[in-house]
């Protein structure tokens, strides 16, 4: 009798947990890290990087909505898209200032060479 009650209680608790627990994805942190890095690196100031960053942020929101709707498969695909956009945003945000610095250094060398002629 007691065993039956314990079993019923266990089943009830298990069902209640399933119904109440929100679906999560372990891919979320892997996506949020490059987004944060791109933001910190000033992606918003580099037009193409800003676009990729915006796409990534939108896709994370869509993924969260899919998770709320219980569609984990679509959510995880959306997070992979967001991760790809965020990593590209990060690279583009790194590239722009580096290109400017390289050009600046080359201009300085050119000016020095001209002054010696």
């Amino acid at each position: 009798m007691i065993a039956k009650r314990v079993l019923s209680l266990t089943v009830f608790v298990a069902l209640w947990s399933c119904a109440g627990a929100p679906i999560t994805s372990d891919k979320l942190p892997a996506t949020e890290a490059p987004i944060r890095a791109a933001e910190e690196l000033g992606a918003a100031r580099v037009p193409q990087a800003a676009l990729e960053l915006k796409l990534a942020q939108d896709e994370v929101q869509q993924a969260k909505q899919f998770l709320q709707d219980g569609n984990k498969q679509r959510a995880e695909m959306m997070l992979l898209r967001a991760q790809a956009d965020a990593e590209l945003a990060l690279a583009l945000a790194r590239e722009a200032p580096l290109q400017a610095e390289a050009k600046n250094a080359a201009d300085q060398v050119k000016a020095m060479k001209q002054s010696r002629q």
Partner: protein, 297 residues
């Protein structure tokens, strides 16, 4: 025997050709393939082979997904990711090149600085400062124009993305085909109307809402709603019914926000069948409404 084999081969080829005609790869997949090819022939192959290899793996997955199900969300997502991975490999290669160029220029600068006299160095710094000032002024002048262009470009890209998503949503409720006359959305007559009538069924409304949403996101200048029937009944009756049905769909779409001046209704009756009218299945396929999104120009 040989003729039979030839006929089967011809049939297979025709089927393959038809399949290819209706399943064009997503634009992201086309772009990913082209950009990968360019990256393989360019600086990325030398400066970032590991990144390029990752991109290739992603592109292979997208190609495989396309072969398995050309129109699935999974295929579109894989293609999207593959394109970004290729672009990432190229960007990382450019970063590597820029880093090397910067280091080489700084080494050269240090070497030259040792050879210049103090007065020569001062003269160089003055010239560089002048050049920098001039560049800054030009950049400021350009910024407002380029910022405006960039904002427009980003808005266009986001709109294109939304339009692609709308088309993908449409593909879940209707057949969507790219044809020479434009993007054609085909809705079965039995989904929209009771037999012989032109009043919309309740179940048709959510589907037409989805269509209205896609049309509103489209930048096309013109939409045509075409009504089609099977071959049962007189020509006049079929033409009238097909026109009334097209008009009903048009009215509903305009109620839902599609600009009335952009959309017109046409009834073709039984004159444009897409299937054999001698079978029940063929007739069901012929009873349909097509919405043609005509390309610009």
């Amino acid at each position: 025997m040989i003729r039979a084999v030839r006929n089967i081969s011809l049939l297979a080829l025709t089927a393959f050709g038809m399949a290819c005609a209706t399943t064009a790869p997503p634009r992201d997949l086309v772009d990913a393939r082209a950009e990968y090819q360019a990256a393989s022939d360019g600086v990325a192959a030398k400066m970032n082979p590991a990144g390029l290899y990752e991109a290739k793996k992603s592109l292979d997955l997208a190609n495989k997904a396309f072969e398995q199900d050309a129109n699935s969300d999974n295929t579109r997502d894989m293609a999207y990711i593959a394109l970004r991975k290729v672009q990432l490999a190229s960007a990382q290669a450019r970063i590597e090149v820029a880093g090397q160029e910067k280091a080489a220029a700084e080494r050269e600068k240090a070497r030259l600085e040792q050879k210049l006299t103090q007065s020569e160095l001062a003269e160089v710094r003055r010239k560089l400062s002048e050049a920098e000032e001039q560049r800054r002024a030009e950049a400021e002048k350009l910024q407002s124009t380029s910022q405006q262009l960039e904002t427009e470009r980003q808005a266009r890209l986001l709109a294109e993305k939304k339009a692609e998503e709308a088309t993908a949503n449409l593909a879940k409720i209707a057949m969507v085909k790219q044809e020479a006359r434009g993007l054609v959305i085909t809705l079965s007559g039995s989904v929209l109307f009771t037999s012989g009538r032109s009043t919309l069924l309740a179940n048709a409304r959510p589907k037409l809402d989805e269509v209205a949403s896609a049309l509103q996101k489209s930048d096309a200048e013109k939409f045509v709603v075409e009504g089609h029937t099977d071959s049962v009944g007189s020509e006049t009756a079929n033409e009238e019914l097909s026109y009334r049905r097209a008009q009903t769909v048009r009215d509903y779409l305009t109620e839902r926000g599609v600009p009335a001046e952009k959309i017109k209704a046409v009834g073709y009756g039984k004159s444009r069948p897409v299937a054999d009218n001698t079978t029940a299945e063929g007739r069901a396929n012929n009873r349909r409404v097509e919405i043609v999104i005509q390309p610009k120009g």
